[in-house]
């Protein structure tokens, strides 16, 4: 049962990584840039949701919607102001700009919301009224006489990830915008000649990625409720690793990479060593890249001379 417990919490953590990694991989696939500020968008989303729920007393669903809306706009604004002027610049310059944006978001959050940790409210609980009128709050599901405990956050996280994954796949393969995105990732110049609005498509990609980041932020902070301005950076790096693990630019790859990374991390924590888990995760990544240099599902592009 322990094994099953670890597996489920690993999948749940992996689902969060997968949602973040989807944002990384979409932006990379279409704009060919590493958006280092993505992790900090997660943090912004979590803060927005936190304040919507605690200061304005909005219900969780509205809080999440507010977070998604703010992050979507934030992603588009950042793209317009910081990345769009650098469309033709060398990739290193864009990378440094993204790092600058990341610093900017972190420090703005520090100024606006201070470094005092905020306790993220528990959204996913079930209130039960027993026969004698006593109210109990349950936050997990007990199975097999209490030997297997699955928290509601875990269930919600896994389901959300599956829904997002399915939705995104449908969107990419069946809508006009999705087709435009695929065209842009294949060849921007040719796409433009075919009448595709490349700038609009890239902007849309950032919007979707940032919206997903907001969802990931809320889920992340529901599972690990301490919220500080640097909350997003480590999950951001891990998710980036997950995206590379699965083959950056590939959407199923990000999903697979995220899940595997989460499961490996949880198992490493449980069975090998708590402190060394990060090192083990990265070591696995290195081994995978040595065997498959373009990630698990990445396409190996042959160089032409």
């Amino acid at each position: 049962m322990n094994f099953l417990n670890f597996l489920i919490s690993g999948i749940s953590l992996g689902s969060i990584y997968a949602i973040i990694a989807l944002g990384y991989t979409m932006v990379y696939g279409i704009a060919k840039m590493l958006n280092f500020a993505h992790g900090d968008v997660i943090m912004v989303g979590a803060y927005i949701c936190f304040f919507a729920a605690s200061s304005f007393g909005l219900p969780p669903a509205l809080g999440i919607l507010a977070a998604i809306a703010v992050c979507t706009v934030l992603g588009m604004v950042v793209e317009r102001l910081a990345y769009k002027p650098l469309r033709q610049a060398p990739s290193l310059a864009v990378l440094i700009t993204a790092i600058g944006v990341s610093y900017f978001l972190q420090n703005s959050a520090l100024l606006l919301w201070s470094s005092t940790p905020k306790m993220f409210p528990a959204f996913f609980v079930l209130k039960e009224t027993a026969a004698d009128g006593k109210e109990t709050v349950r936050n997990s599901l007990q199975l097999f006489d209490g030997r297997l405990t699955i928290s509601f956050v875990t269930i919600v996280t896994i389901v959300t990830c599956l829904v997002i994954m399915a939705g995104l796949t449908m969107f990419i393969s069946h809508t006009k915008m999705g087709k435009a995105m695929r065209a842009c990732s294949e060849d921007k110049g040719a796409a433009q000649l075919m009448g595709i609005n490349v700038d609009g498509t890239i902007s849309m990609t950032f919007a979707i990625g940032s919206g997903l980041a907001a969802v990931a932020g809320v889920l992340l902070c529901s599972a690990y409720p301490t919220l500080v301005p640097t909350t997003g950076s480590m999950p951001g790096i891990k998710a980036f690793t997950a995206a590379v693990f699965g083959g950056i630019g590939s959407i199923p790859g990000a999903f697979l990479g995220g899940l595997l990374l989460g499961v490996i991390e949880t198992f490493a924590k449980a069975y090998i060593s708590m402190q060394l888990s990060d090192a083990i995760v990265f070591a696995v990544l290195i081994i995978v890249l040595l065997v498959k240099p373009a990630g698990l599902l990445g396409r190996q592009i042959r160089e032409k001379v």
């Binding site: 440094i96 900017f104 402190q275």
Partner: protein
Amino acid sequence: MASLNKMSKASRRNYLTCGLVILAYILLQVMSGSLSSSLKGMLVPICAYVVMAVSLNLTVGILGELSLGHAGFMSVGAFTGVVASTFFQNLIPFAPLRLALGMAVGAACAAIAGFLIGIPVLRLKGDYLAIVTLAFGEIIKTVFTNLYVGLDSSGLHVSILEDNTELAEGGKLIISGPMGMGGIEKISTFTAGFLLILITLAVVFNLVNSRAGRAIMAIRDNRIAAESIGVNVTKYKMIAFVTSAALAGASGALFSMNYSTIVAAKFDFNMSILVLVFVVLGGLGNMLGSIVAAAVLTILPEALREFADYRMLIYAIVLILVMLVTNNPILQGYLGRVKGVFTGKRGKKEAA
């Protein structure tokens, strides 16, 4: 003058860089009475960052591979350097010699780490290479956070995860896991840092202007073409990577012996990024630029202390603006016209 004219443009530039560094050192020594104590305290870290920036520039600017884990080598150098200098504390009473020994050991260990890491890393390309260097940086950080090294009469004791060093009476724990290193002798001096910068510049300039350096740059410009004329790609990549790691290791030793305590978490991803920012702002392949950027950007947050809360925010905005101004064709065209007005002639439009 005649000999100066005969020199190539590149080597004139190299002498200029070294000359400016020496000039800056002399100026700072002369002014040392009037410097504020906070600036004085930053001299050694600035030297360490300058060496880091120049060594990373060798990887990013000359070799053309993005490394996101340079702080890892600094960490290796810092920890092994301090262990070495503590080990010789009783044998060598002369502090500068111990510092030099610490830096040499730090450089050697970082070079070994660079070689071991280089074997898998240099097989990859582009973003995959970058992420693997990031991963190695994190692994090194995690390992040092859980490493215990003690010293007693019978020699060094090493253990990982838990403190199993079982030191004899009078023994001393040099590295104590997450607590890092405490009670380090503060033997780093500005002069030592200055000498390290000069050595670094000498190593890098000589490498770049050698046969090996030209091979490295040929690989950067076109790997396939270089390979087809018989350049051993792996060998030359490795030379650049290991040299860069060794210099970072020496810099780490210098850096750590400037503080009484230091933890492995100091050398994290943010540190690597910080150094990368120095390199990119200074200009890829431009060593003088790296030096200036490292010095200015280390002082800048301190100089902005009046704005205390806002300084990191301003730092971020400066970073973004510099990138936009130097890389956006529209803004650059505008700047060129402004420059043209000041110099009295139309800015010549360069062919793209």
